[in-house]
Assembly symmetry: C2
Homo-oligomer: 354 residues x 2
DNA sequence: CTGTTAGCGCGTTCAC
DNA sequence: GTGAACGCGCTAACAG
């Protein structure tokens, strides 16, 4: 029984017109109980499924959301996509998923592809939300979209994110309170992204507030070879006055850095403390557990879908939704031996509600 | 400039018919250089993008691949989807992504949704490829699909996978060669999946071949709370003759188990060795590194797309493609103190080429 | 080489 | 309450 079952087949079987079948299926107009039953029976017998294509062509709207992310390999993005998928499914929508693989220029191409598919809206994480021709295009064509993870400076751009600067500020203050004075800042790939910048800003602000010297970010490829990280870190940590702690711009990088430091013979956290950013699940499964900023990545995906639907269906204005983050204490972050004041390890500092 | 730009708009602007515009865009028939240039100019000026919907309605084929996986949260599936996405993009296709979240019954619903969108084909990882009404339906309707990670016993079902049984067999033999005699088998969620079964079979076969007693699988929810894992493991490892090693049915579980064992006061690998399955990237980033079966997850996604396209475009027959696996030595797996024979740690045993 | 035309599957006016 | 007819954007078959 191949798939040549169209609305016409059903109409013939039910002995009525295609218009009536359409009415029954979509409950778009009242129908008599008799014909209603016949149509439903025919639908069931034939295994008819209305073609989304025919429907889309007519209404010029699909039940599809386009997604653009840098990479699925990073659990942060995988988690937010999981949230999007679940939220979209609740609303009878599916996800058209694309990834740039950090390739510059891919954003524009992917968005065009998705727009050509008449997606109902877009959810994207871009390198830089501030100056982005692709987003300008979407604005111009009036196609609804929501950013995730990005913090657009340009108001009027919808986004769901955490306050990256505030988060690293809080995290850095915690490290300072634990007695650390020289805190290295290690940035992962894509260091030019707007969120990476915001994170470094928070770090710098906290350091300066404490009268300490902020470090220039050291750029590393996260989850590259641990040996190469070891090499890159050797110079920094075997110098005269080495850092006692490292703040990493994301969790994948942090886990990798922990490994590299150990390869170099340093104990974590005894010799060097390490903290990450994101709150990926695995950070809690390794030993010692990773100190990090816990961000609600899955929820971010869900909220992004909710916001997008509000914009599409209710004409809601684009807005930036800040989600709360949590400082998650972990075994990789300990007070220095020469701590000026003991740090309270158990504290969970939470951002103010959005 | 809203999006009311259709092929007709372009035709008017270029001063030709819509058929000619179509020909220029798709290079489906020769056109004169003059009209060609005019059309391209019009396309560029108007920012025209042919609607995939109109095209799909006509050809009854979309440039879209439907994907069904259990969850995006597991890096194994995230990696294979990343491979699919990249391979699909090379072929000008996009992915319609759905996830069951391990909810029984979701498979059927998601497949119906995807079929209603006229996907060109499907790529799926199902709980059980052996008895599966959804796959029977696809067979009946002659919709091309490829399984990933599943090992269908039913020949005629296309799949890309590793030989799970052979892999755990080899891994178990390595552990036995390292002197382990009591090797626990810890299974993650979804223990009823066909691949989980095959993995346990390989373990059991190796144990029996060595004249050892295979353990009944202990089922744990992977990446659940580490404390709860600790509880679940306490009974087993604090018994009279505790296992000296644990074989975990996947890497996420293995990393979690390492944490739980440490919580219980065991040293890994000094007191208990641990091995996983999958070869997720993070296994190499933690310390000690995770001993595991390295499976080419990303490649599996790429190959699945390639196979699907061969079936769609060249009418290739469905076939099962076995990809090679590698035993990856890791710090979590060490010889027992009472080893009968020293194990050669450096060996990398590779499966025979497919 | 190019234009005209007929649908693809569906929702939606209009009449009745 | 129901049916006939049109058109959404596009490709393909057929004329010219």
């Amino acid at each position: 029984m191949p798939r040549i079952v169209t609305i016409r087949t059903v109409a013939e079987r039910a002995g009525c017109s295609i218009a009536t079948v359409s009415r029954v299926i979509n409950r778009s107009a009242p129908t008599s109980a008799a014909v209603d039953a016949r149509v439903r029976a025919a639908v069931a017998e034939l295994g008819f499924r209305p073609s989304e294509i025919g429907r889309a062509l007519k209404t010029l709207r699909t039940r599809t959301l386009g997604v653009v992310i840098p990479s699925l390999t990073n659990p942060v993005f995988a988690a937010s996509v999981a949230g999007m998928q679940s939220a979209a499914r609740e609303r009878q929508h599916t996800l058209l998923l694309t990834a740039t693989d950090y390739e510059p220029g891919a954003e524009a191409e992917l968005v065009e592809t998705l727009v050509a598919q008449n997606v109902a809206g877009l959810i994207l994480t871009v390198a830089d939300a501030a100056e982005n021709a692709t987003l300008d295009l979407l604005d111009a064509e009036d196609i609804p979209y929501v950013l995730v993870h990005n913090e657009p400076p340009h108001p009027g751009r919808a986004a769901v994110c955490v306050d990256n600067a505030a988060a690293t500020f809080a995290l850095t203050e915690t490290m300072i309170a634990a007695g650390h004075r020289r805190i290295a800042y290690l940035a992962g790939r894509f260091a030019t992204s707007d969120r990476a910048r915001r994170r470094h800003e928070g770090y710098r602000a906290a350091m300066e507030k404490a009268g300490l010297e902020p470090e220039v970010p050291l750029e590393l490829d996260y989850l590259g070879d641990a040996p190469s990280h070891a090499e890159a870190l050797a110079g920094l940590f075997r110098a005269g006055a080495p850092p006692t702690a490292a703040l990493c711009s994301n969790d994948l990088l942090a886990l990798s850095v922990v490994g590299a430091l150990r390869t170099l013979g340093f104990r974590v956290p005894d010799d060097v403390s390490v903290a990450g950013f994101d709150g990926i699940a695995l950070g809690g499964a390794v030993h010692p557990t990773l100190a990090t900023v816990d961000t609600p990545t899955r929820l971010m995906g869900e909220r992004a879908v909710a916001l997008l639907f509000a914009m599409i269906n209710e004409g809601a204005a684009p807005r930036v939704e800040h989600l709360p983050f949590t400082l998650r204490p972990g075994g990789t972050l300990a007070p220095t031996a020469r701590a000026d004041q003991p740090a309270s390890q158990g504290d969970r500092i939470t951002s103010s509600p959005p």
